[in-house]
Every structure is written in structure tokens, then in C-alpha cells.
């Protein structure tokens, strides 16, 4: 039995805009999502902003009810059996919110230990263990309002683990962490994976998914656009290379012209200060450069480089844009 199943899950949000004349608008966050995550698997959910990653996680943690379709965790239905799911899963949503700021980190953990019905005489030990794990032991008695962003995130990680859940959901856990903090967090995730937990991780960082995940699902606009191991996804671009061109003042008409070229697979633009970085995927490699330059015509072109395609390029190709 898979640990997690999503079966044609659809989720629509009804939003209203306008103050005087209220207009109702439906936002489709998940169009029709089906996938399975095996027990003990570390599954990465990847996708651009607004793709529906958080929505998926919230459905699986019983915080949102799907508009249509069914989802289950450990065999329990997320709507009907929410009570069975809640004690068995742990979750963190990236960011600093969701803590009681005016009390200490330890108070926060002890409080949630009570809510998760951790055995009363084990609470102290468990909280200390977790404070050690996330490296907050010596700041544990200070108020959370004085914690740095990374410390708050680590506190969330400890909270998630209080009741030793079998399934973990981490929604962008490394967002806003410094490189060392992010690496430590990734190491912690690896240890949890090694300990046999089923883990769903959402991220914007390709290398993170590549390094950690057994399998990756890429979603875009509420649809699953690719599913496989990092190697399988890389194979999508195995024979490709990427030409990166620094340009100044690229317009839609240039992009359209590049995309129309028969040897070009995809074009992505990253806007930087005063210039843009074009990433063109092609099987031609260096030989594509003169022809690309030609079609950019009078546009000023700066640095040009050619390299082999990576998982990130596979991702760019799948979702059609850069983060």
C-alpha cells in the first residue's frame, strides 16, 4: 500500500474581488492531480509559484478539503478519516509564522507536545532531544520573538517531530535559510529519510530535489507535468545543451522569433538588473550560437556560454519558465 495517494484531486478556490461590486472568481489551484508516494520514500514536489504545491500539502495534512477527487495518507481518507491522519503526520510550512512569539521556544514545543498527546513524563526528554537535534538547546528559554528567521524555522522542524510521525510534509523548509542552515536542514531530512520516514518535500531549488529526493513530481498550473527519479528527469535533456546569452532589452518579438527556430527546444528569460539572461535549450550545442545571434538581430549581446543541460534545465523545459 502506498503511503500517500492522490486520485484525480481537484481544488478550486473561490475568491472575490472588488469592494462595491463583488466579483466572484474561481482559481483552479489543482486541476487533476494523481500520484502515489511509497512508504519510506522521499518525494519532491517541484513547481513554480502558484503551481499548487502548498495546496497539495494542505490537502494531505487535512487542512483543505479537495473540491473533487480523493486523497489518502496511510490508507486513511483525508476528508473522512482526518482524525486518524492528524496524529500520524507532521508538517512545516516554510517561513516564520505560526509560533507563539511571546513565550520561549521550549514553551512552544511543550505546548504542542501536549496537543499531540506525547506521554507526559516523556515530554521533557523529547523536547530536549529535539532542541539538541535542531541546535536550539542553549537558546531554548528565550522568547521566540528574539529568534532569527532560521532559528524559527528550526523550531518548526522540532515541532513537527514531537510526536514522531510516520509521514512528514515539508513545504519549502529551506526558504530564507543561510547556506549553512539550509545544508544542515537537508542533512536532517536525509537522516529522517534514513530512519524510514515517508517524506514529501516541496522546493524551488532543483539541486535540493536532485540531491535529496528518490522521486520528483513536477507540477505546473495544477497539473503533473513530469514524474520520475532525478536521473529520469535529467534524461529528458540528456542530449541537450544550453546556450546562455546576456542581452540588453529583449522583447517579446525576439523571444517569439527564437522559439520559432526549428533547432530550439525552449527559451527561458531571467530578468536581471539592466539586462536579461536568455537560456536556450538546443541539441545543436555551439553550432547554434551564430544562428541565435543572427535572429537576435541588432540586439546588444553580452556574454555567451554553452554548457550541458542539468536537471534545472529539464525543469525549465517542463514548466516553461525560470524561477
Amino acid at each position: 500500500m502506498p503511503a500517500i495517494t492522490l486520485d484525480h484531486v481537484r481544488r478550486v478556490f473561490r475568491t472575490s474581488t472588488g469592494v462595491i461590486r463583488r466579483k466572484r472568481k474561481d482559481v483552479v489551484a489543482l486541476e487533476d492531480l494523481s500520484l502515489e508516494v511509497g512508504e519510506g520514500e522521499l518525494f519532491g514536489l517541484l513547481g513554480p509559484n502558484g503551481a499548487g504545491k502548498t495546496t497539495t500539502v494542505k490537502i494531505l495534512t487535512t487542512l483543505l478539503i479537495p473540491t473533487a477527487g480523493r486523497a489518502s495518507v496511510l490508507g486513511y481518507d483525508v476528508v473522512r478519516d482526518a482524525r486518524q491522519i492528524r496524529p500520524r503526520v507532521g508538517f512545516v510550512f516554510g517561513g516564520e509564522r505560526g509560533l507563539y512569539y511571546r513565550v520561549s521556544g521550549r514553551d512552544n514545543l511543550e505546548y504542542f507536545a501536549e496537543l499531540y498527546a506525547v506521554e507526559p513524563r516523556r515530554i521533557r526528554v523529547r523536547v530536549d532531544e529535539l532542541l539538541d537535534l535542531v541546535g536550539l538547546r542553549d537558546r531554548a528559554n528565550e522568547r521566540v520573538e528574539g529568534y532569527s528567521r532560521g532559528m524559527k524555522q528550526r523550531l518548526h522542524l522540532a515541532r513537527m517531530l514531537l510526536h514522531d510521525p510516520a509521514v512528514l510534509f515539508l513545504d519549502e523548509p529551506t526558504i530564507g535559510l543561510d547556506p549553512i542552515g539550509a545544508r544542515e536542514l537537508r542533512e536532517a531530512v536525509e537522516r529522517l529519510h534514513a530512519a524510514g520516514k515517508t517524506i514529501v518535500l516541496t522546493t524551488h531549488y532543483m539541486f535540493e530535489a536532485d540531491a535529496l529526493c528518490d522521486r520528483i513530481g513536477v507540477i505546473n498550473e495544477g497539473k503533473l507535468v513530469a514524474l520520475g527519479t532525478p536521473e529520469e528527469l535529467k534524461r529528458l535533456v540528456s542530449d541537450k545543451s544550453v546556450v546562455e546569452l546576456e542581452v540588453y532589452g529583449v522583447g517579446e518579438e525576439h523571444l517569439a522569433r527564437l522559439r520559432a527556430l526549428d533547432f530550439v527546444d525552449s527559451v527561458a528569460v531571467e530578468r536581471r538588473e539592466l539586462r536579461e539572461l536568455l537560456r536556450v535549450q538546443t541539441a545543436l550545442g555551439e553550432r547554434a550560437v551564430p544562428r541565435l545571434m543572427a535572429s537576435l538581430e541588432r540586439l546588444e549581446v553580452g556574454r555567451v556560454s554553452v554548457r550541458e543541460a542539468t536537471l534545472e534545465d529539464a525543469y525549465v523545459r517542463l514548466v516553461g519558465k525560470l524561477e
Partner: protein, 260 residues
């Protein structure tokens, strides 16, 4: 049940601690009732039939009611603004128990602070605040707090049902002072208002506390008032359960547990 009791008491403790570390909150909690007590005592102390305990009980009731009404109608939304509501809902304990615990913490805090302010106020004016029937008053005190708190538990899910409901609740603050007979007897009100008073748990709380502190309420009449307080508490607690289920279900359908 044991799980819910743990969630209840943990929430009470968390909120007591939360309020105790907030200097502004401490200031409000102690200074405001203190000034009310001093003002009322100063205004009334020339009147021959002035009974300090009546004034203390009455203004304490107004204080408790304000706290319960405010805390009750904001209890869930404040968690939402802090981003903790999702964590509470995603935990196995019931939100009902958590919110009830939070309200209990708020009440315990404000009752303690009021008792201290009144003690100081009375000492300054040289009054002795005498409760005539101490055991009955103690019983009435506990039952009255439970009854008003139970109303708060009912208000909590109502507070997020709709903005209009919350606004209506806020408007209720002062009328209840009067309809509840906190500071003067409801018999001074037009007769047609009395049925409304009789339907309000705070009214019975006031009857019990004023009656036992003055010693006028005892025997069967006292037992009856206690029964009314218990029944109204029970009714609020029972009615709140489906309301909590309703608002939680709706929040999960509409996606309003968090702010985004």
C-alpha cells in the same frame, strides 16, 4: 476525553504565561479595573445605602464580561493572524478544547487582576468589602465564571461565522452590563426587557453573586439560581460543539484557515 483535558489545561497555562509576560496587557488588566473601582467608590461613597461589595461585584462582572466577549470573538481569528490556526487544526486535539482553555486562561488572569485592584482600591478608601454568605458566594463565584466562560466558548465559533455576526457581538458589550443587572437591579428597567434579561446567563451570574454577597439569596432560591447557571453552561457547551464543527469544515472548504 483525557486528551481534550490535556489540550484544555495546556492552553490555559500557555495563555496565562502569554499574558503575564506582556507589560501592556498587565498594565491594562490591573490599572483599568483599579480606576473603575476607585471612580465608582468615590462617586458612591456619599450615598447612605452604599454597599461596597455590590459595587465591586458589579464592576467585576462588567470587566469579566468584556474580557470574555472580546477574547471569545477574537479567539480563533487571532490564531489565524498568527499563523497558528493551521497548526492547531492539524493537531489531533480538538480546537474546541484549545479555545476553551485559552478563554479560561484569559478569565483566570482577569479575575485575579481584578481581585487585586479592588483590594487595593478598598484599602485606599478604607472600606471593608464583606461577603455575607461566604460558602454560598464561593459556589456562586465558580458557577458564575463557568456560565460566562461557557458563553464565551459559544461566542468563539460565532465570531468567525461572518463579519456581521462579529460586529453584532461587539455591539453587545454595553447592553449586557444593563440587561445583566451588573451595576443596578434590572427591576429598574421597563418590564418588557425582563424576559431578555432572564434569557442571559450573565444575568443569572449577577443574581447569584449579588445575592450571596449581600446574603439575600439562600436556600431553595439559591439552589434554583445555581441550577439555572449549570443548565445554561451545559447548553452553551453543547451548542458550541456543532458550531465548531461547522466553522472548521467551512474553513477547510473555503481555504480560510490561513491568511494567504
Amino acid at each position: 476525553m483525557r486528551r481534550e483535558l490535556r489540550a484544555f489545561s495546556a492552553s490555559t497555562r500557555l495563555w496565562l504565561r502569554y499574558m503575564a509576560v506582556d507589560r501592556f496587557m498587565l498594565f491594562c488588566a490591573f490599572v483599568q479595573p483599579f480606576f473603575i473601582a476607585v471612580t465608582v467608590m468615590y462617586m458612591l461613597h456619599h450615598q447612605p445605602q452604599f454597599d461596597p461589595v455590590y459595587v465591586v461585584v458589579g464592576s467585576a462582572l462588567t470587566g469579566i464580561w468584556s474580557v470574555v466577549l472580546f477574547d471569545g470573538s477574537w479567539a480563533i481569528n487571532s490564531e489565524r493572524f498568527q499563523g497558528t490556526l493551521e497548526l492547531l487544526v492539524g493537531a489531533p486535539s480538538s480546537l474546541y478544547a484549545v479555545i476553551a482553555g485559552k478563554l479560561a486562561g484569559g478569565m483566570a488572569f482577569s479575575v485575579t487582576s481584578m481581585a487585586l485592584s479592588y483590594a487595593v482600591g478598598a484599602w485606599l478608601f478604607g472600606y471593608s468589602i464583606v461577603v455575607r454568605d461566604v460558602p454560598a458566594f464561593a459556589v456562586a463565584f465558580v458557577l458564575a465564571l463557568i456560565a460566562i466562560g461557557a458563553l464565551g466558548v459559544l461566542i468563539a465559533p460565532l465570531g468567525i461565522l461572518a463579519r456581521s455576526v462579529r460586529q453584532f457581538l461587539t455591539v453587545l458589550e454595553h447592553p449586557i452590563y444593563i440587561l445583566g443587572g451588573f451595576l443596578f437591579p434590572v427591576l429598574l428597567l421597563p418590564g418588557w426587557l425582563l424576559p431578555i434579561s432572564y434569557a442571559l446567563p450573565p444575568y443569572w451570574a449577577a443574581v447569584a453573586l449579588h445575592g450571596t454577597s449581600s446574603g439575600e439569596l439562600s436556600g431553595v432560591a439559591f439552589a434554583e439560581v445555581c441550577a439555572v447557571l449549570l443548565l445554561s453552561s451545559l447548553a452553551c457547551f453543547v451548542l458550541a460543539a456543532p458550531l465548531f464543527r461547522l466553522v472548521l469544515r467551512r474553513a477547510r472548504v473555503e481555504g480560510t484557515l490561513s491568511l494567504t
